[in-house]
Amino acid sequence: MTAQGKITSSFDAEKARADFEILARQVYGKPLAYLDSGASAQKPRIVLDTMRDFAQSEYANVHRGVHFLSAAATDRYEAARRTLQKFLNAAREDEIVFTKGGTEAINLVSYSYLAPGIQPGDEIVLTVMEHHSNIVPWHFLRERQGAVLRWVDVGDDGSLDIEALDAAITTKTKLVAVTHMSNVLGTVTPLKEIIARAHAKGVPVLADGCQGAVHEVVDVQALDIDFYAITGHKLYGPTGIGALYAKRAHLKAMRPFNGGGEMIREVMKDRITYADPPARFEAGTPPIIESVGLATALDYLMAFDRKAVAAHEHDLLTYAREQVKQFNWLRVIGDAPGKGAILSFEAEGMHAHDLATILDREGVAVRAGHHCAQVLMERFGVASTSRASFALYNTRADVDALIAGLHKARGILV
């Protein structure tokens, strides 16, 4: 591998980069090196344009009016659902529930699927590398209903031990809730194997796909997964929208979460009947413009050879790892085989926030802190880390800016 960045795939990152106007801006007079897509990705022009065009020409509320615009908007909203169906390869479009994000998707499973049947002592299996959004909803069930959280550790390299996970699944287990890709370590979990092991014991599986769906091709049918949560804004789409994939049989058995318009069949003074899924779980006016934006983002992403995109992101990770080897004061956290394009590290003598402040002034945007993964921080004995996360629009120049910034920070702080 050379520093010039030999093109190893059919994916042209420079060309894709031009689709993201914000990446051309400067911060503090320096070119922007945006390495925080793991927190939120930038949006390509076509997503922004399509949302604006839709709002200017076809917008109205959905599923309500009989008028022209309402019909047009409803068509677009339901078409967006089919785009998500395609993206996740769901068997049916009504297995896709729009939510306001990944967090709401997981909370929906907690409230509507798991909570009604939870007895004290029932167990939920999680890994220590979960994001708080895949921890706190289960803590609610612990606090309120006496559920027990069973934690599966990761190895020092951040990899998940499938045998340890298997051993944690008992006759009391009601759900395995596991990330598809760790937002700190980059570890990609062996979902197919996890699901096979859990199903062998009759236990359903939820995957937090907020990171995983961005970097991996997801096929919910091939996985045979029960629940898969995604968020729009990490997928180059807008904020305020996400989705839950759930098997039809689960959705039909689930009680409503939020109550309001759109989710009912009939409301009387003394009784109420609910709409069928997915409408049952989409109370109130949904994120309509955002649904169109998300569908556009997914079409944008699917138009690429996604394996080539993943190879490009992985090349950046490998390049960055090679570069940081020169720093004997830097410890990379997360080194699992096949990990995704996330580089978390701790730097001796430099607190993550000081480092991030100095990098910021060099135009380099990284995340510093606990990454909403305090259980994992505890596992690795750190209060916080710095994290560079790579997206399809990043190039080796971004990595070079990070490395130069690290040199500079060292010079200032140590």
């Binding site: 607190h351 402040t357 916080s384």
Partner: protein, 161 residues
């Protein structure tokens, strides 16, 4: 290096953060409080011994954090020691104004000169909480920390700046 960064990470600040003054547990504390910044996970514990006139007879802090929070805590302990409650109040109010880039002319001239090194933080709004954590924890120790010494509790979360 750009000027704002040079201002922020002055040698005085780095020296305080590398070699914090009054660092450790104050064995005969009369008041204490714990501060926590949920954004970064940094923690600080401030121990005080207030004499009969509410003068800060002794003060120490414990904890780990970024250069800004450590330097701020270290300077704070240096400057608060020996002050009466009223003097300490004035100092803290002035400090909070200073790091937010507001008018800090109510500070005594000596204090203003010593605290000037922290003024650079006002250019970094995302970092103001790092600088104020120890001070808010100190205030919490004075106000509610008397029983905390016996009960082993009293926590403040760095929400407001």
């Amino acid at each position: 290096m750009d000027n704002a960064l040079r201002e922020l990470y002055q040698e005085v600040i780095l020296d305080h953060s590398r070699h914090p003054r009054h660092h450790g547990v104050l064995e005969n504390a009369s008041h204490k409080a714990e501060g926590y910044n949920p954004l970064c996970g940094d923690r600080v514990t401030v121990y005080l011994r207030l004499d009969a006139d509410n003068r800060v007879a002794d003060i120490k802090f414990e904890g780990r954090g970024c250069a800004i929070s450590q330097a701020s805590a270290s300077m704070m302990t240096d400057m608060l020691k020996g002050r009466t409650a009223t003097e300490a109040d004035r100092l803290m109010t002035g400090f909070l104004h200073l790091v937010k880039g507001e008018d800090a002319s109510d500070l005594l001239e000596d204090d203003r000169e010593r605290l000037e090194v922290m003024g650079g933080i006002s250019e970094f709004p995302m970092r103001v909480k790092c600088a104020t954590l120890a001070w808010h924890t100190y205030r919490n120790a004075v106000e509610e920390g008397k029983n905390a010494v016996e009960e082993g509790k009293n926590a403040v979360e760095e929400g407001a700046t």
